[in-house]
Symmetry: C2
């Protein structure tokens, strides 16, 4: 007999099935025991006259007959016949797997990540994350983008060497890359024109917030032959439309479980695009004080404004001043062709057109206080002829967090790393 | 007017088109100049009475009329009308981009990676690599696998701490992960059952060969509720069938350019599966001396044997002795349920069933000279109940190398890292 998944038992009413999975819940009513068996597809109630000594989370294989029972979850249950323990779990779990984990503190959940990820709701975050990875890649491939994998070990920082983790590399020292910026630009210039990369990015910053990770997954995009950053915002809207429509089609139950909904394609194409200066003056009006900078509070407030204005709590802020952006950002007068996307109160993307002219770029490097000699690899991309281009990066964990409404970004990382957390 | 790609000009015969791309070749015949323009789709001959001063690799935009010309490559050319230089390349390139690069040494190509990747043939390696990434993920998603992203910063090595790169992490030290072994097993045990990960893996080994990289991309698979490693070999055959059929469908021209062909689905399902002991005795016979170990020479010889025997130069070697495999390998008498896949003379995969019993695993850790206390995170996966499971890892660069017949694995890494090479 071959294995039947919990979600499929309806198709086997009256038949004998083999099920495998975890002991999710055990309820002994004296004379009859209910065992909820959990597998990757869901869970199913099994009923037993007699069971061996058994601990929750043990892995079992059972045979039994599928019967209708209105009182059972989903209206179906399995009357147990044969029982095998494949792996007995220890009895003293630090917390029970089923149920609501909001009362368990996040540090306990993360310290016991191997156990807390067994909770179907907590694990479902990563089903959504897997969907995002799929939709992102598939949408871009459809537009002729090539997926690249660049090195995460770099000899110097693309933005001046602060915030880097040093790595002992044989007889020398290298650093963990903050972004594949240099490499994705190089591949556009090398003729791929359109590239994306899904890879780890590292920030050695000592922040301790609900929106920062020291290691995260960056969804990077870079595209040649663009004229303005508006084309990049168009592209990002297309990506988000694909992601949101795929998620709501594939996993509506997970969204419901989290009380989350995703924006429609129409809402996403209506995301307002406002210049940085306008964002500040809007905030000054709404907060009733002079606002000089985009703070987390401001990001939330701008999204509320967009929600009222355009029916979606997201906004592209563009035309950032030069001093707010990295040296490679394409200038446009005293401003730049650059943008952030704020989504549900949080910056999830930063991007823009890049300078593609060698001498302009060299001047900007000097102006930023960096040394062009240290940037020789970077500059060689432009010495050999480089098309106008730009790109952006979406933080995978931030996007996951905002789509599901998670309080802390660490919930959206399987094994998060922060200043103190380096295990499991 | 919107941009036409070089590969599409046939559809515009007699019409005016806008083209953008790189100056691939320039040939001045006095009075008439031929300029081959290269873009991501291919290249096209353009013809000019007069051109501005221009260097190879400069990025240009041109307007012109598409005409038939039997003498032109592809039978079509564009009679140039208007010309804009978008980015002028420096004149003194270290080598010309077009043509055959086999005479340029690999170190020169890698030192000048930003330039050598402009060569369409060298760049095409990464088109194939992008195809592999796509096929691998799509095939596994179709079987209910979830894509995961685990941390690459670990507090200790999964196989005992040798060959690890140390990272300065705030006030402490961590290491770059050699593989996502612990994490993918954890996610199987957590109930995802079937997971895959595409991520960087690091080996601090001082090898200097044509088949080793210190940083590579590992295609990792882990699957619950298996009984034997034969099921894993079946799964790998399915993956390779998907990869090979997709590549030959999407990019036959690249295969042809490299003089490469990929095995058929039928050939792949016929890959012989032989026990380690049989592999050694086969080698002893064929090499006419007692063979005690699987060396690179032996791997090549076994593939020749398989080619003659089964029509495909690939072979699964399984049932490795316990001392040849990591502590977590599932024992089967004095042997193990483990395998390598040798493909065209090179090991591209290592895998097997894993021990899922807590006490057996603890004993094996001690027997391997490791300390269970250091392995607490790893062991907690099994304390909480873990299904029988197994998995494998395919080296992305090795698979790319073997599919295209590349002499050196570094050609299959965009920005390879070896003992001496840390840039660009």
């Amino acid at each position: 007999m071959s294995r039947t998944m919990a979600a499929d038992i309806k198709r086997h009413t009256g038949k004998e099935v083999e099920l495998s999975g975890w002991v999710h819940r055990l309820r002994d009513l004296g004379g009859v025991t209910f065992l909820i068996l959990r597998d990757r597809s869901g869970s199913v109630q099994t009923v037993w006259d007699k069971l061996p000594e058994l601990t929750p989370e043990s892995v079992i294989r059972v045979y039994g007959t599928v019967v209708e029972n209105e009182a059972a979850p989903g209206g179906m249950e399995v009357q147990g016949k044969e029982f095998t323990i494949l792996s007995q779990a220890e009895g003293n779990l630090p917390f029970a797997v089923p149920g609501d984990h909001t009362r368990v503190g996040i540090d306990v959940l993360l310290d016991n990540r191997m156990l807390s990820l067994r909770n179907p709701k907590l694990r479902s975050i990563f089903t959504i994350q897997s969907d995002i990875l799929d939709s992102f890649a598939r949408y871009l491939r459809g537009l002729g983008f090539t997926e690249i994998k660049s090195s995460k070990l770099i000899s110097s920082g693309s933005e001046g060497g602060t915030g880097l983790f040093p790595v002992e590399y044989f007889e020398t020292q290298v650093f963990l890359a903050q972004s594949p910026q240099l490499y994705k630009q190089a591949m556009v210039a090398a003729g791929m024109e359109r590239v994306f990369e899904i890879g780890a990015a590292y920030r050695a910053e000592k922040h301790e917030t609900a929106r920062h990770l020291n290691e995260y997954v960056s969804l990077d995009v870079e595209m040649g032959f663009i004229e303005s950053d508006q084309e990049l915002m168009d592209l990002e809207v297309g990506i988000l439309q694909a992601v949101c429509s795929d998620i709501s089609e594939k996993n509506p139950a997970i969204l419901e479980d989290w009380g989350a909904s995703v924006p429609t394609a129409q809402q996403l194409s209506g995301i307002p695009r406002i210049p940085y200066d306008r964002a500040l003056s809007l905030l000054s009006d709404r907060l009733d004080r002079r606002v000089f900078e985009l703070t987390p509070e401001g990001e939330r407030e701008l999204c509320s404004w967009a929600k009222a204005e355009a029916g979606i709590d997201a906004v592209f802020v563009h035309s950032f001043p030069r001093k707010k952006r990295p040296f490679y950002t394409f200038p446009n007068g005293r401003k730049t062709m650059s943008f952030d996307l704020l989504f549900r109160g949080l910056e999830i993307t930063s991007g823009g057109r890049r300078i593609n002219d060698y001498s302009k770029l060299t001047k900007n490097i000097v102006r930023s206080g960096l040394d062009p000699v240290d940037m020789e690899d970077y500059l060689s991309v432009f010495r050999y002829g480089c098309p106008p281009h730009g790109g952006f990066a979406i933080g995978l964990e931030r996007l996951t967090q905002q789509l599901l409404g998670l309080a802390n970004i660490k919930e959206a990382s399987l094994f998060p790393r922060d200043r103190r957390r380096i295990r499991p």
